[in-house]
Amino acid sequence: MSNLVTTLISVLVFPGLFFILTYSLFAQWVSRKAAARLQNRQGPLHTGWQGILQPLADFIKLLVKEDITPAAANKPVFDFTPLFIFALPLAATFLIPIQSITNLWSWEPVASFEGDLIMVLFLMSIVVLAIFLAGWSSGNLFGAVGATRVAFMMLAYEIPLGLVAISPAILARSLSINSIVDWQVASVAAFLTTPSLWGLVTGMVLFIGFAIYVICLLAELEMRPFDMSEAETEIVHGWQVEYSGKKLLLLNAGHDVKMVLAAALLTSLFLGGPAGPVLPPFVWFILKTTLCVLILSNMSVLFARFRIDQLVSGAWRYLVPLAVLQVMAVVALSGVI
């Protein structure tokens, strides 16, 4: 009985639905505010302290807006894809270690099994498919162009994304995100007691992986410089162009959750997950993921938007070989340490 209650609480309240949704609103605010300050603007300012409630206010506003389905749209697909775009990344966050609700100092995820890393990557790819369907079904030319661009972009970043995500798994000899975090904690502790050259080299190789992963996630999240699938000046918001009201709300919420998921993956695979001294795991999780969100939004204000052909050729010319080299280095290192 108590087992059922704790499961329900961890799925619905903490660290499940409620926490993730609240935190994704906070992440949206952090990303908007940081980007605005870097661009010499103020960003959200009036709703709550420094506009911290602005994402929530935007969501409430979208709830009361009219929800239009264009006559040319394929209605069932058009109606259901926003649900998938919202629900799939949310489901993936249950596999991320954040905080156990029975033990303050443990970070057991809500669900964990051998191979859940593959599951998360799979869910993220399915989101792209849902986005493609969303754009294609809207019956709008700009939507169709945006949808094909999303599919093209997937060709560019999916391979390096998968390769780099596997490299910590090779070192940890496990495909479970939780075991990867445990391995990182153990090896960092071992490195701190007996520093070794190989530990340093491993850290550097993983840092390259981190950099590649950030670039791929920028493309996955459709953030600048890889936002050509919604490029406002070119194709008027691309695949989202026909969405309004509650469906747009779901799309926006899905994007925020995806951003949290991306930051959480970065944290879990490369930054030691929710582990850290003194403070409980969820505090470390929030600190580290906020750092990742800041890195992502900082990257996104630094560059001009690439063209789709430049992204694909650039990814295959530089990112894929670099990712392959990184994985080879990791395989070699896993034999040494």
Binding site: R41, T233, V236, A304, F306, R307
Partner: protein
């Protein structure tokens, strides 16, 4: 059209266009194969309205032809009218007109640079450039009281004087502008993501540009030296030392460079004007009821977007018999079509914005029957009736 090709409409309403204008793009995948521009969505009957008002009232109409090049239109209009009326304006007025002409060029070019950065998705640069543009906007506001539509030239001179005690402050502001512009030139010519989106995009060579009769920065970026301030100097431009800016890149990077370098030259001209401005009257008297002798005149100025032509005919009354405005964008559209063909969809916004289009200046309305080779125009009453009929359907 093969089944791989489809037509994307850009406009009349589109975020890349700040004004309503329609372009039908035939695309093959991501590549543009054909462009069909359709101008004429923004017809306001300004030339007709001018025929019913006297020369002073028309000042306010010409100023409102365009929001960005309002001063250029007024400069050209007053120049043409003064030529017909045989008015010689005071020397100091000429200097003040040049000062405003160049300040407006600075603000327009900086505005364009920001918009160009926005079109290639580099919003950070856009915000920075527009922040620095506030300097020149502040100067314009300080002198004229307005951020656009300054109402400075009038028939017979200018309406406001420059105050001597403000000169050191303006010198300092202009120096800051030059310094920031130099920084943006450095950013635009070294930042790799900008170069990826600008080099080779929308290329038109020198011969093609001459054949397609482009003007302004659009032509000068293809290596055609066509700055009216140098080729046919007006006001006091023959006395001012400044460079004739043109580059032979022919692409979007060339357009960025031409405009950025012209900002630097405009700053130089403004500083020269502040140093050399003579004392004296700023206007000779011109009465709104004053009759202007019969005659006609053409006055050409170099507006920010290119060669701006005002042509006026007087039949001896106190209002023009006909006033014709030829805005630079009209001449730039053939080369714009050439620039767009063969490019990517992703490059459409920056190429479109590249000529700094101003459709409100450009649009006219006339009917043309291709079969009979006959053209005619409608008057206001016919237009009104057509509008009523159209919405009854």
């Amino acid at each position: 059209m093969s089944d791989r090709q489809f037509v994307i409409p850009i406009g009349p309403q589109h975020p890349a266009l700040k004004e309503p204008e329609s372009f039908l793009f035939t695309v093959d995948g991501e590549v543009v194969v054909d462009v069909d521009p359709r101008i004429g969505y923004n017809h306001r009957g300004i030339e007709k309205a001018m025929e019913a008002r006297n020369y002073i009232q028309n000042l306010y109409i010409t100023e409102r032809v365009c929001g960005i090049c309002s001063n250029a239109h007024q400069t050209a209009y007053t120049g043409a009218v003064e030529e017909v009326a045989g008015i010689e304006i005071p020397e100091r007025a000429k200097y003040i007109r040049v000062f405003f002409h160049e300040l407006e060029r600075i603000h327009s070019h900086l505005l364009w640079l920001g918009v160009a950065a926005h079109e290639i998705g580099f919003d950070t640069l856009f915000y920075y450039i527009w922040r620095d543009r506030e300097l020149v906007m502040d100067m314009l506001e300080e002198i004229s009281g307005n951020r656009c539509n300054y109402a400075i030239p009038t028939v017979g001179g200018v309406r406001r004087d420059l105050q001597k005690d403000k000169f050191p402050k303006w010198h300092k502001m202009l120096d800051t502008l030059a310094e920031r512009t130099n920084y943006y030139i450095k950013v635009a010519s070294t930042e790799q993501t900008i170069l990826d989106r600008a080099v080779g995009v929308g290329y038109v060579g020198k011969e093609d540009m001459i054949r397609l009769s482009g003007s302004g920065p659009n032509a000068r970026c293809s290596g055609v030296p066509c700055d009216t301030r140098k080729t046919a100097p007006y006001l006091i431009y023959d006395e001012i030392p400044f460079e004739h800016i043109y580059v032979d890149n022919g692409d979007v990077l060339g357009q960025v460079l031409v405009r950025a370098l012209e900002v630097l030259e405009a700053v130089k001209i403004c500083k020269w004007v502040l140093d050399n401005i003579p004392d004296g009257e700023i206007a000779v008297k011109f009465n709104p009821m004053q009759k202007v002798p019969e005659g006609e005149a053409v006055y050409i100025v170099e507006a920010q977007r290119g060669e701006l032509i005002h042509y006026t005919i007087s039949d001896g009354r106190n209002m023009p018999y006909r006033h014709k405005i030829r805005a630079p964008t009209l001449g730039n559209i053939p080369s714009l079509v050439e620039r767009l063909k063969g490019g990517y969809i992703a490059d459409i916004p920056i190429t479109l914005a590249g000529i700094d289009p101003c459709f409100s200046c450009t649009d006219r309305m006339a009917f043309y029957d291709e079969g009979k080779d006959k053209s005619w125009a409608w008057d206001g009453e016919q237009l009104r009736r057509h509008g009523l009929e159209w919405y009854k359907k």
